[in-house]
Symmetry: C2
Subunit: 124 residues, 2 copies
DNA sequence: ATGCCTGTACGATTTTTGTCGAACATAGCT
DNA sequence: AGCTATGTTCGACAAAAATCGTACAGGCAT
């Protein structure tokens, strides 16, 4: 333990992030709801892509490159957010998403590893 | 390593079990399908109850004590079997179920632990 | 101000899933 | 044979979820 470890770190808690959109609290996460959200292949792809290709940055839904109408994508991102899988913040025009890894690992340990290990079925 | 460990164990491979009903091979299990099967609270209850109250014996669906029409139960057990979550064998009149723990642990490590830890939402 | 860009909101349609009654199948019992 | 108990199958209906067009909202640039 050092003095530096006790000093409050302003940089680690940036105060100017846009507030997240409405989402369930960590304690409110329900396994049934989370599983239902992940049962859709497109949504599983979204979470897996966020986990594997960018823990560090949040991404707008255009970043994923899905060839689907925008209203369909809104629908799926909303489902993920309302289930508690992602956190979304508004940055100017875009709404950027990240996986709520801490909350999910605490509540459902191992779940995200299953998503990381998932491979889409290429035969369909 | 002892000689006894190398001796074939007849008792551990009983030959007279009824054959399982049609089910996906262990290698064919799909995460999306498994998650969709588990996303239903009644089915989650079935799997959890099998895991917590009886790893040792298979159970007919009457054992669970659900107050639902039989045709509804058939529907849910079939969904679980076709997703690869349970194995069902016909014993005379009854069709007994068990969780495919080995296949599931091998393919989706940690998944069944999430089911074990699940608590139904009493507020609903 | 005009236009562009990201994404939402609403609503219509389709598809999928759940629910359950009624009729049936079969094993085991008396 | 007749009865009972377990569970299936079929079909109808209801409920929920996915898909997507159109119209709209609001930053941001020129």
């Amino acid at each position: 333990m050092t003095a530096a470890m006790l000093a409050p770190s302003i940089a680690s808690v940036p105060a100017d992030l846009p507030l997240p959109l409405a989402e369930p609290d960590a304690g409110e996460l329900r396994l049934e709801i989370v599983l239902a959200a992940l049962a859709d292949p497109l949504r599983l792809t979204i979470i897996r892509k966020l986990l594997l290709e960018s823990e560090a940055y949040d991404h707008p839904c255009g970043w994923f490159g899905f060839e689907r109408p925008k209203s369909s994508l809104t629908h799926h991102f909303k489902a993920l957010r309302e289930a508690g899988l992602i956190r979304q913040r508004q940055y100017g025009l875009e709404r950027r998403s990240r996986v709520r890894t801490e909350d999910l690992d605490a509540r459902f340990p191992g779940l995200l590893d299953l998503v990381r290990a998932w491979r889409p079925d290429l035969s369909s």
